[in-house]
C-alpha cells in the first residue's frame, strides 16, 4: 500500500509539473516574446482560465504527501524551510502579477505586473528544479529523521550540504530550460501570427540547449550521487526510461519542425514525465535519501502513515480524482483552440 501511495504522490507531482510547468514557462518567456499590450494580454489569456487549477495540483499533492507520509512532510518541509518560504513569496507575487493586471488598465502598472509575473516565473522554475536536485542528491538527515539546510555552504556535494551546490544549481537550470521550451510550445499551440512565430523561435533556440543539458545532467547525476543506478541494475527494465527521454526529445524536434504544435507540446510533456519517472525510479523505496549515511534514509516504510489511513484515503482519493479529471476536461475543452482577443469576455482575459 505504501508503494501505491508513493506512486500516487509521484503521479500527482508529475501532473503538477506538466500543467503548472507550461504556465510557469509561459511566464518565463512572455517578457521576451510578447512585445505589446495585446500580445501580453494574449499570453495571460492563454493561461488565465487554467493556471489556478494547475496550481491546485501542488496543494493536492502536498496534502496527499502530508497524510500518506507525515514523517516525510515534517522532515522535508522543515529542512527545506528557507527555499520553501521563498517559493511561497514567489507564488504570491506571481498570482498577483497574473490576476491584478486585468484589474488595472493603465500602462505604467501593466509593465510592473508583467515584470513581476515574468521574474517570479523564472525564479520558481529554478527553485523547483533545485528542490528536485536536493531530493535526488540527499540531505543531511539526523538520527531523529530531521535536517536543516542553509541556502548554501561550500557549493560542493558532500555530507553537509546547502540547498544550493553545483549539482542542484544545474538541476535548476535544467528545469528552467525545460519549462521555457515547454511554455513556448504551449504558447505556440494557443497563439497565431507574430506571437506564435516568436514562441516557436524560442523553442527552436532552446531545444539544442535542452538536449545538451539533459545529457550533461544524466552524467553529472551518476557522478555526484553514487549508487543512483542501483535500481536500474536490479530491474534493467528501468533503462526504458532514458530511452523514452531520448525518444521524446527526438519526436519534439520533428513535430516542431513540421509545425505540429500539439505534437511538440505533448512530446515535451512526455519528456518531463520521463525525467521525473527516471528520478523516482532511481530513488525507490527511498523518499528522501540521507547524505549522512543510508541508515538515516527516509523510505516509504519508515515515513508512511498507518494502514487504515492509507486504505480509507484510497477510497476518497479515487473519487476526488475522478471529479478533478472531469473538471479539467471540461475547462480545457471550454477554452480550447487559439486565443483571440476579440472574443474576450468583459473582464480582461
Amino acid at each position: 500500500m505504501a508503494t501505491i501511495w508513493f506512486m500516487i504522490v509521484a503521479v500527482m507531482v508529475a501532473i503538477y509539473v506538466v500543467l503548472d510547468g507550461f504556465d510557469l514557462g509561459a511566464g518565463a518567456v512572455h517578457l521576451f516574446i510578447a512585445k505589446d499590450n495585446d500580445e501580453r494580454r494574449t499570453v495571460i489569456r492563454a493561461i488565465g482560465p487554467v493556471w489556478d487549477g494547475n496550481e491546485v495540483w501542488l496543494l493536492a499533492a502536498g496534502g496527499t504527501l502530508y497524510f500518506a507520509f507525515p514523517q516525510l512532510y515534517a522532515s522535508g518541509f522543515s529542512g527545506f524551510y528557507l527555499p520553501l518560504m521563498m517559493v511561497l513569496w514567489l507564488l504570491m507575487l506571481r498570482a498577483v502579477g497574473i490576476e491584478f493586471r486585468t484589474h488595472i488598465q493603465e500602462r505604467v502598472w501593466q509593465g510592473f505586473f508583467d515584470t513581476i509575473f515574468g521574474v517570479s516565473s523564472i525564479l520558481l522554475a529554478i527553485f523547483f528544479g533545485a528542490a528536485l536536485g536536493n531530493v535526488v542528491r540527499g540531505v543531511p538527515l539526523n538520527p531523529d529523521g530531521y535536517f536543516f539546510e542553509p541556502l548554501w555552504t561550500n557549493w560542493r556535494v558532500g555530507a553537509q550540504n546547502g540547498i544550493l551546490d553545483w549539482y542542484t544549481v544545474m538541476c535548476g537550470v535544467v528545469a528552467l530550460v525545460t519549462l521555457v521550451v515547454h511554455g513556448s510550445l504551449y504558447l505556440a499551440t494557443k497563439t497565431e501570427g507574430a506571437l506564435n512565430f516568436r514562441a516557436r523561435k524560442v523553442a527552436s533556440l532552446f531545444w539544442p540547449v535542452q538536449v545538451l543539458l539533459t545529457i550533461f545532467s544524466l552524467i553529472a547525476t551518476v557522478y555526484a550521487v553514487p549508487g543512483i543506478l542501483q535500481n536500474y541494475t536490479r530491474w534493467p527494465i528501468g533503462y526504458l526510461v532514458p530511452l523514452v527521454v531520448i525518444g521524446s526529445l527526438i519526436y519534439m524536434y520533428f513535430a516542431h519542425s513540421r509545425r505540429n504544435e500539439k505534437g511538440a507540446f505533448l512530446a515535451s510533456s512526455l519528456y518531463i514525465i520521463a525525467m521525473l519517472v527516471g528520478a523516482v525510479f532511481a530513488l525507490y523505496p527511498n523518499v528522501l535519501p540521507a547524505s549522512t549515511g543510508s541508515q538515516y534514509d527516509l523510505t516509504i516504510y519508515n515515513s508512511a502513515t498507518g494502514a487504515h489511513g492509507m486504505a480509507v484515503g484510497f477510497v476518497w482519493w479515487t473519487f476526488g480524482m475522478i471529479l478533478a479529471a472531469v473538471y479539467f476536461v471540461f475547462v480545457y475543452r471550454m477554452f480550447r483552440g487559439k486565443v483571440r482577443l476579440e472574443e474576450g469576455s468583459d473582464h480582461g482575459y
Partner: protein
C-alpha cells in the same frame, strides 16, 4: 518562553489571522451572490444581475488574496510545526488533503467560469457555476474547521508505538460533533462579514447619492441576511459551542470568563480587567448566577474555575483570551441590535432616508472582521497550552531544527509581503467601489459596443 517557540507561534498566528480576513468575506459573499443571481434569473430583473456582477469583481480580488495567503498555511504545518505534523499528520492530513482534492479543484474550475464565463455560458450554467463556487468555498471551510476541531477535541485516532497518532475511524474524524457547531458558528460569522460589507457599500452609495438604485439593493439584501445570521450566531450556534467548551475544556471556559474559583451559581462578567496574579477582576460588572444558567441551564450549577486544574495546564495568556472572548460576544450583541433597528426601518420604508442609520451601517463594516478574528483567537488561545488538546503540548510541536533566527527571517518577510498585498488589495477594492456597478446600458448601445470589439471597461 523559548524564543524559537514564541516566534513560530507568532509566525503562524500572524499569517493565519491575515489570511482569514479574506476567506471570511469570500465565504460570506458567496451565498449572497447566489441569492442575487437567483433573484435576477427567476424574475428577469436586470438590476440584480448587475449587482451580482459588481460583487463578483470584489469577490474575485478578495479570492486571489485568500488563495495566495492560504497556501502558506498548509506549508507551515510542515515548515514551522514539523513535530506536530509528524505526530498528527496521519489524522489531520486526511482532512487537509481532502480539502485539496474536493474543494480546491471544484473552486478553481468554476471560479474562472463564474468570473469570466458569463458571455460564453447560458444563464442557467452561469448560475450553476456561481453555486459551485459557493459550494467549493464552504466545503473548504468545513475541512479546515474539521481539522481545527480535531485539535480541539481529538477523536477517531489511536496511539501507535512511535508515539504518533494514526487514523482509526474516518467517520469520527469527519463527523466530529465539535466540528458541526464550530462550522455552523464560523460560517454564519463569515456571512455576517459578507452582509455587513454589502450593506456598508450600499449605505456609502446612498449617502453619497451615487448608484442609488444599486445601493438600495445592497442595503436591503445586506441587512435582511444579517438579521438571520446575527441571531443564528448566538442561538443556537454560539450557545452550543459555549456548552461544548464547558463540558470538554472546562479550564478554557474558566479562563475566558476569568473565573478563578470553582463555585456554584457562577456569575457572568460583562466588564472588568482581569488581574491574574491577584486572581481578581478590577471594577467588575457582573450578572450573578448567569454563567451557571448559560452553561448548565441551572441557577445553582457548579462551574469549574481555574483552581480546578494545575497551573501548568492553564491557557498561557489568560487576559488576552478573556478580552478576545468578551470582544467577540460584545460585538455579536451589537450586531443583533443594529440589524434589528435597520430591519425595522426597512420594514417601515424609512431606511433609505435615515442617514444616521446608513452612517452606522457604513462605519460598522470593520466590526465583523474584528469579531471573527477575536472568535478564532478565543478558540486557539483557549486550546493552549495544548496544540492537540490533551495529547500534544504546543511547546513540543514546533520545528526544532528551524532556529529562531531563520523563523524571524521568514516572519519579517511575510510582514513585508503582506503589507504589499494589503496596499494592493485596498487600492483595487477602492477602485471598484469608486467605479461602482456598471450603469444600465441601453440595448442598442450595448450591441454597438459589442460590434466594436470593445470591453465596457474600455468604453468608460
Amino acid at each position: 518562553m523559548d524564543s524559537a517557540l514564541l516566534i513560530h507561534r507568532l509566525h503562524f498566528a500572524f499569517t493565519v489571522t491575515f489570511h482569514y480576513l479574506f476567506p471570511q468575506l469570500t465565504m460570506g459573499l458567496a451565498p449572497l451572490i447566489v441569492i442575487l443571481k437567483t433573484i435576477g434569473w427567476r424574475t428577469g430583473d436586470e438590476r440584480y444581475d448587475r449587482a451580482a456582477r459588481f460583487w463578483a469583481k470584489i469577490f474575485g480580488i478578495n479570492f486571489v488574496i485568500g488563495v495566495v495567503t492560504g497556501i502558506p498555511m498548509e506549508f507551515q504545518f510542515g515548515t514551522n510545526w514539523s513535530h506536530f505534523s509528524r505526530f498528527a499528520g496521519g489524522v489531520i492530513g486526511q482532512t487537509l488533503a481532502m480539502e485539496g482534492c474536493f474543494a480546491f479543484f471544484l473552486e478553481s474550475t468554476f471560479l474562472g467560469l463564474f468570473l469570466y464565463g458569463e458571455k460564453r455560458l447560458s444563464k442557467g450554467l452561469h448560475w450553476f457555476s456561481t453555486l459551485m463556487v459557493f459550494l467549493g468555498s464552504w466545503m473548504s471551510g468545513y475541512f479546515i474547521v474539521a481539522t481545527d476541531a480535531w485539535m480541539q477535541h481529538p477523536v477517531g485516532y489511536e496511539r501507535v508505538a512511535d508515539g504518533s497518532v494514526q487514523l482509526k475511524s474516518f467517520w469520527q474524524l469527519v463527523l466530529n460533533p465539535w466540528a458541526w457547531w464550530q462550522y455552523a458558528h464560523n460560517m454564519s460569522g463569515a456571512v455576517i462579514t459578507g452582509a455587513f460589507v454589502m450593506a456598508a457599500v450600499g449605505a456609502f452609495y446612498l449617502l453619497s447619492e451615487k448608484h442609488v438604485e444599486q445601493g438600495k439593493i445592497f442595503v436591503r439584501v445586506g441587512v435582511i441576511a444579517a438579521l438571520f445570521v446575527t441571531v443564528f450566531q448566538v442561538v443556537p450556534t454560539g450557545d452550543a459551542q459555549g456548552r461544548m467548551i464547558a463540558q470538554n475544556q472546562p479550564v478554557t471556559l474558566a479562563a475566558m470568563e476569568a473565573l478563578w474559583e470553582t463555585q456554584p451559581g457562577a456569575p457572568l462578567v460583562i466588564l472588568g480587567q482581569p488581574d491574574v496574579a491577584a486572581q481578581k477582576i478590577d471594577n467588575p460588572i457582573v450578572i450573578p448566577k448567569m454563567l451557571s444558567i448559560l452553561t448548565w441551564r441551572s441557577w445553582g450549577a457548579e462551574v469549574k474555575g481555574l483552581n480546578a486544574v494545575p497551573k501548568q495546564d492553564w491557557p498561557d495568556n489568560i487576559p488576552l483570551l478573556y478580552y478576545t472572548y468578551h470582544i467577540m460576544v460584545g460585538l455579536g450583541t451589537f450586531f443583533i441590535a443594529i440589524t434589528a433597528v435597520a430591519c425595522i426601518l426597512l420594514w417601515r420604508k424609512k431606511l433609505y432616508e435615515s442617514r444616521w442609520m446608513l452612517w452606522i451601517l457604513l462605519m460598522s463594516f470593520p466590526f465583523p472582521y474584528i469579531a471573527n478574528t477575536a472568535g478564532w483567537m478565543t478558540a486557539e488561545f483557549g486550546r493552549q497550552p495544548w496544540l492537540v488538546y490533551g495529547l500534544l503540548r504546543t511547546a513540543d510541536g514546533y520545528s526544532k531544527m528551524v532556529s529562531a533566527g531563520n523563523a524571524w527571517f521568514s516572519f519579517l518577510g511575510f510582514l513585508g509581503m503582506y503589507a504589499v498585498l494589503s496596499v494592493l488589495f485596498l487600492f483595487l477594492v477602492r477602485r471598484e467601489i469608486e467605479h461602482g456597478p456598471e450603469p444600465l446600458v441601453p440595448k442598442d448601445l450595448r450591441e454597438l459596443v459589442d460590434s466594436a470589439h470593445m470591453t465596457p471597461a474600455e468604453v468608460r
